[in-house]
Amino acid sequence: MIHISLGSSTRLVFLPRPVARWESGMFKSSSCFIFFWLGVFLFIMEGRGSAVNTPASRPVTRRSKSYGRSCVEAPSYFWQTPGHLAVLKIPNSRGTAKSQTITNKVDPEHIALLVKNEWKLSYITPLHHFRHTRLKSYSKHLSAFIVAEKQQGVAVEVGLEAGFKVTFSAVLGLAETDEDAETVFIQIQSKPVFAAVADAPKVVWRGWLTCVNGDLEYLRSLPPDFVSLPLFCTSGPESLTTLVKSWFERVFDCNFGCLALNSTTLNWLTALWTGCHPTCNIRHLKLAWSLPTQPPLDVSYTVNPQDAWELWNSIHPEESTDDRIDIQEVQSFINGLEAHFFRHFKIFLSAGTLVKVSTALGSAHVDGKIKIGNSDYITTLLTLLTECALLKMPA
C-alpha cells in the first residue's frame, strides 16, 4: 500500500568540514633549534578493573516539556503501522463474532440508518474541543458553511435555514467501553430550489463518526480536550464529503485520510463472518480477487455458505473452549479456499490481492467501502474498523 515516488534527482547538500585545523600561531617560527634526541617514551596507561560506577554527582533533569510524545514510550508503538513495531500491537487473535441484539441498546431508528447504505471509510485524527453537548450549534454552523461554500463570496448568516439542513445527532449505545466516545451521526438534507412548499427535504448526504472498542491505552493517553472518533463513514456526493471534512478540519483542528482495508483485515472479516453461519445464515460467501496479469484478471469466487463453514469448522472447531480466533487459523482458512480454487482452475489466488468480501452480514472492499447487512454483528465489524483507523493515526 505504500508508494514512494522514486527517481527524483535531489541535489546533495553537503558541507565538508575544513580538513585541516588552522590555528593561529601555526607559522610562528622559532629561533631556538636546540633539541635532543629523546628516544621513544611510550606512555602506556593501565585500565584498572573497577566496579561499574556512573557519576551520581551529575544532576539528571527530566525534561518536562515535549513536542508530542516519544514513539518508544508507553502508549506509543501503537502507531508504528508499516514499520517493524506494528507487530507489537496488531492483535494476533480476536474474539469470535457474537450476535447481540443491538436494538436493545441503540435506538432502532438509528441502527436502520447505519444498515442500509454503503459507506466510504476515512480515518480522523482526534477532534480538539469537540463537545457532544454542542451538536445543535454544530448543525447550524455546518449548514451555513455548506451554503457559503456553495455560493462563493456570499456571506451567510449562521442559524438561518437556507437550502441545506444539517442534523447532528448522537447515536447512544454503540460505544462498548467507557473510553469510547459516543457515535455522532450527521445528515444533510436539501430542498431543491424549484420544489413545492409541501415537498419534504431530501436527504443528500449521511455520515457518522464512531469509536468502538478503541485501544484503551491510546484513548487514555489523549489529553481531556481531545475526543477520538477515529472512524468516519460517509455516503453521498464526494463534494459534500469534502465540505464536511474541511469544516471539521477548520473547527476541530483534525485531519482526514483515506482508510483502505488491507487484505489481512479482509481475511479477518471472511473468517469472522463465516463463523457466524450456524447462528445466522450468511447465505453466500463471495470473494473477489484481482490478479496482476496482463490484462488484469478479476476472479469472483462464491462459496456455498455451508461448505465454507465446514472448512472453517475444521480449522476452528465450534466446540473449542476459548472464544478466540488466531491469525494462523484465519490464514489457513484462506489458504484452504485458495487451494480449492487452484485444484479446479490452476490459478494461484495468493498471487493476487483479495479485493472484496461479501456475505449476508455485510461486505467490505479493499478501497475502504463497507456495507452492513445485519445489525446484530455490527460491533465486531466496527471494532475491527476502529482498530484499522487507529493504526493510521500519526503520532
Binding site: 527524483s8 601555526m26 617514551f41 533533569t61 516519544s70 456571506a155 448568516e157 483542528d253 503520532a395
Partner: protein
C-alpha cells in the same frame, strides 16, 4: 506652519493677533519670532480663515467677492503648504453646514489638505452634519472619500469608533455604501459585530449581489465572530476596496513632501487581499489557513485576546503572553518563530499535540500514502515543507515526535535518494532511544541503505555526517534532554551503540570503497568528535576507533588523514589521562574498561613504532606479517617505510626538505635527514606545514618538542 497655529482662539480674540507661543516653542531665535509676529499681524491667511469661520447660514454666496477672495487665499495656502488641524475643523464645519453654499462645499472639501494631522472631532462633527441630511449626495460621497483618504492622519479614532452605529446606518444609502463599508472596515472591532448588523449587511448583499466591498466587510465580521456569519472567499478575489484618494492624491503627496518629518500618509489604503494558495495541496493550504476557532470565541468573546498570527514582534508577544489565542489550526504556526517561542514557553500539551497530529498526518499522507494522482512535480513543494519542519525543529532544538515516528516508517521504504538532504537533516534531530529500538528502527534500515546504495560514497559520507551531528547534538545537551524513559546508563549504552555502529559502517565502507579519501576524512571527522566526548561533552565514555578505521588512516597516502589521526590520538590520550586521574582521585567515578586502555595502547604503540621508531612489525600486534612474506616484496628496509620520512603521505615533504638542505646533491639520500640537527630541522619543517595534529601527537607521546607550542600539557613519560 507654526505661525498659523492656535486659530482656535480666533473667535475670542477680535484683534486677530496670532499667538506666537507655538513659534517660540519651535526653538526659533527671538529675532525671528519677532519677525514672524509682525508678519502674522498682516497675514492674509489668518484673516481669511477668521473671515471664513464667521460665515453664517444664509450668507449670500453668488457675487460675494469677499467670500470668494478669502476662499482663494485659503485655497492657495492649502494646496501649497497644507492646513493646520484647527483650520481643518473650521473649514470642514463651514463646508458641511452648507453656510457657504453647495458649490463651495465641494470646493472646500477638495482643497482640504492637512499639513500634519486631522482632529477626530472634526470628523465626528462632519458625521453629525451627514446625519442632518441636508447635503447633496455628491457632497456626502466626497466627504466620506475625503475621510478615507486622510484616515491615517486622524489623530485618534476612539470617538469615531463610538459613533460606529451612526456610520453604520449609512450602508443603506446605495451611493454611499461602498465608501461607508470601507470606512467601517477600517473602524470595526470585535465588539462592533452584532447579529442585527450582520443581518443588515446580508440584506444589502441579497439586494446588491456579491459586491467586493460588502464581501470584505463581511469577511472581517466573520473573522471576529465566526459564530454569527460564515463566508468562503473564492480563490481569486478582486481587490476589496478601490482607492478613493484620486482627488487629493497629488496635492497631498506634494504637501507631505514639503513637510518632511510629518506623518506619512499611506497612499494605498486599499486592502490587499492575500492571494489564497492553490487548494490542490493540503500542506500549503494549511500553512496559510488562519481561521479562528468557533468554540473559543464564544467562550471568551468579552476578553481582549490576541491572535498569535497578529503579533509582529517578540516585544508584542511578551506584552500579551497572558492572553494569546491559538489559531484554530495549529499547523498554521509551523515555521513562525514567534509562535514557536510561545509554544516553547507555555508547554501546552494539547497545542503541541494538535501540531503533531497535523504534522504527522501531512507527512504520512504526502510521503507514505502518496496519492496516486501522478503529482510528480511536488518535489519542490515537499522540499519546502520539510525545510519548514527543519527550521522549526532547529529553532526548538528538538524534533517533533510525529516527524520521528514518520521517519521510522519512512526509512523502511526510502530509496536513499528522494529528498536526501532534508531526510538526513531530519534524521539528525532524532533523539537517542534505548539501544534495542535504535537497532530495530534506525540501524537496520540504514545499514541496508548504506550497503546497497549506488551513489555509495556520498551516502557514506552523509550518513557519517549525520551520525556525527546526532552525536554532537545529543552530547552537547545530554543532561537536559535525556528522554523520559531513559536512565543514564541506558543513554550511555545508546551512545556507545551508535558510535560502534558508525565504526562498523565506516570500516566496512572503507574496505568496500578502497579507502576512499573523502570517506576516510568524514570518518576521521566523526572520530574527532568521539575522542573528545569525555572532555568536551562530559560524557563518561571513551570509545576507540576500530582497526578498520585506524589502520587505513595510519597508512593513508594523504597527509591530511595522517595528521587528523595524530590529532585524534592526541585527544584520546588527553581524555584517557584525565579520566584516569579522576578515577584515582575520587573513588566514585565511571568505569572505562581495561580493554579501552589496551586498545588505545596498542594503537598508540603501532603508530609511534611505525612513524617514529621504524619498527612497525611488532610481534603480537595487529599488523604482524611474516618476515619472509615481506622479503618477497623486495622492498628495501621494509621497517622504515612508514616512518616520518618515508611515510607515503609525508614522502614529498621529505624530498622537498632534502632539496632545500642539499640543493647541490644529485642523488637523494633521505637517510641523511635522520642525522644530527637535520632531524630537528626536518621536524620543524614538517610542523610548519600545518601538521598540528602530528605535532601534538609527537610532542605528547615522544617528548620531542619542536618548540612551537606550549609544553604545559606534557606528561611524564615512561618506557613501555
Amino acid at each position: 506652519m507654526a505661525d498659523l497655529s492656535n486659530l482656535a482662539g480666533l473667535g475670542s480674540d477680535p484683534s486677530g493677533e496670532i499667538d506666537s507661543s507655538a513659534s517660540s516653542a519651535n526653538n526659533r531665535s527671538l529675532r525671528l519670532a519677532e519677525k514672524e509676529k509682525r508678519k502674522g499681524e498682516a497675514d492674509p491667511f489668518g484673516l481669511a480663515v477668521k473671515y471664513l469661520s464667521q460665515v453664517e447660514a444664509g450668507t449670500v454666496v453668488r457675487g460675494n467677492d469677499e467670500l470668494e477672495r478669502n476662499m482663494l487665499v485659503v485655497e492657495t495656502v492649502a494646496l501649497s503648504k497644507g492646513l493646520p488641524s484647527e483650520v481643518i475643523t473650521v473649514l470642514l464645519d463651514l463646508a458641511l453646514s452648507l453656510n457657504a453654499g453647495t458649490g463651495n462645499c465641494a470646493r472646500v472639501l477638495k482643497f482640504l489638505i492637512p499639513a500634519t494631522v486631522v482632529p477626530q472631532e472634526a470628523i465626528v462633527k462632519g458625521v453629525s452634519w451627514l446625519c442632518v441630511g441636508k447635503m447633496p449626495m455628491n457632497a456626502q460621497v466626497l466627504f466620506v472619500r475625503w475621510v478615507l483618504t486622510v484616515f491615517d492622519l486622524i489623530d485618534c479614532k476612539d470617538n469615531l469608533r463610538s459613533i460606529y452605529g451612526f456610520i453604520f446606518s449609512f450602508v443603506t444609502e446605495e451611493n454611499l455604501c461602498p465608501f461607508i463599508c470601507h470606512l467601517l472596515y477600517l473602524l470595526t472591532m470585535r465588539e462592533h459585530v452584532h447579529p442585527y448588523r450582520v443581518r443588515k449587511l446580508l440584506d444589502i448583499q441579497a439586494k446588491m449581489g456579491r459586491q467586493p466591498f460588502l464581501t470584505q466587510l463581511l469577511a472581517l465580521y466573520k473573522v471576529f465572530r465566526p459564530d454569527l456569519v460564515t463566508l468562503s472567499l473564492p480563490s481569486r478575489v478582486r481587490t476589496g476596496f478601490k482607492n478613493h484618494n484620486s482627488t487629493w492624491k497629488v496635492a497631498l503627496s506634494a504637501v507631505q513632501r514639503k513637510n518632511k518629518g510629518a506623518v506619512l500618509v499611506d497612499q494605498s489604503l486599499s486592502l490587499d487581499v492575500k492571494e489564497k494558495p492553490s487548494t490542490r495541496k493540503r500542506v500549503r493550504c494549511h500553512l496559510c489557513n488562519t481561521v479562528k476557532s468557533l468554540t473559543e470565541h464564544t467562550l471568551n468573546s468579552n476578553k481582549k485576546v490576541f491572535c498569535l498570527q497578529e503579533l509582529r514582534s517578540f516585544r508584542e508577544l511578551l506584552e500579551n503572553i497572558h492572553n494569546i489565542e491559538l489559531p484554530a489550526q495549529m499547523g498554521s504556526l509551523l515555521g513562525s518563530a514567534l509562535a514557536l517561542h510561545y509554544l516553547d514557553c507555555v508547554q501546552d500539551e494539547s497545542a503541541s499535540l494538535r501540531l503533531n497530529f497535523w504534522l504527522g498526518h501531512s507527512l504520512q499522507e504526502e510521503f507514505l500514502l502518496c496519492p496516486v494522482d501522478g503529482s510528480s512535480d511536488n518535489t519542490s513543494e515537499a522540499c519546502r515543507f520539510l525545510s519548514t519542519i527543519l527550521f522549526s525543529q532547529q529553532f526548538l532544538q528538538e524534533g517533533f515526535s510525529s516527524t520521528e515516528s514518520f521517519l521510522y516508517k519512512f526509512l523502511s521504504v526510502w530509496d536513499g535518494c528522494l529528498l536526501r538532504p532534508q531526510i538526513l537533516d531530519l534524521l539528525s534531530d532524532i533523539p537517542l532511544m534505548p539501544s534495542f529500538y535504535m537497532h530495530k528502527l534506525l540501524f537496520e534500515p540504514l545499514k541496508q541503505l548504506y550497503f546497497t546504495s549506488t551513489v555509495f560514497f556520498k551516502v557514506c559520507m552523509v550518513l557519517l555526517f549525520f551520525f556525527l551531528s546526532v552525536c554532537l547534538y545529543q552530547a552537547r545537551a545530554w543532561p537536559c534532554v535525556l528522554p523520559r524513559t531513559m536512565t543514564l546508563s541506558g543513554f550511555m549504552d545508546s551512545v556507545m551503540e551508535l558510535v560502534r555502529f558508525v565504526g562498523l559502517l565506516a570500516s566496512e565502507g572503507l574496505r568496500l570503497e578502497n579507502c576512499h579519501v573523502l570517506l576516510l576524512n568524514q570518518t576521521l571527522a566523526f572520530y574527532e568528535t568521539v575522542c573528545d566526548m569525555f572532555l568536551k561533552y562530559s560524557l563518561p565514555l571513551i570509545i576507540m576507533p576500530p582497526a578498520g578505521v585506524f589502520y587505513p588512516a595510519l597508512f593513508a597516502t594523504d597527509s591530511v588523514s595522517v595528521d587528523r589521526l595524530g590529532y585524534i590520538m592526541y585527544r584520546y590520550r588527553k581524555n584517557l589521562t584525565l579520566a584516569k586521574k579522576q578515577e584515582q582521585q575520587r573513588e566514585q567515578t565511571f568505569h572505562i574498561s581495561r580493554n579501552t586502555y589496551k586498545e588505545f595502547n596498542r594503537n598508540l604503540q603501532a603508530m609511534v613504532n611505525s612513524m617514529w621508531n621504524s619498527w612497525w612489525c611488532i610481534p603480537g600486534s595487529d599488523i604482524e606479517i611474516d618476515k619472509d612474506l615481506i622479503s618477497l616484496s623486495k622492498v628495501p628496509e621494509p621497517w622504515c617505510r612508514f616512518d616520518l620520512i618515508h611515510h607515503p603521505a609525508l614522502f614529498s615533504y621529505a624530498i622537498e626538505f632534502h632539496q632545500r638542505c642539499w640543493p647541490e646533491r644529485k642523488n637523494v639520500d633521505l637517510g641523511s635527514i635522520k642525522t644530527g640537527k637535520y632531524w630537528n630541522w626536518y621536524m620543524e619543517f614538517l610542523f610548519n606545514q600545518g601538521f598540528d595534529g602530528l605535532n601534538n601527537f609527537i610532542q605528547t607521546n615522544t617528548g620531542h618538542s619542536s618548540g612551537l607550542s606550549s609544553q604545559d600539557d606534557r606528561q611524564p613519560t615512561s618506557q613501555p
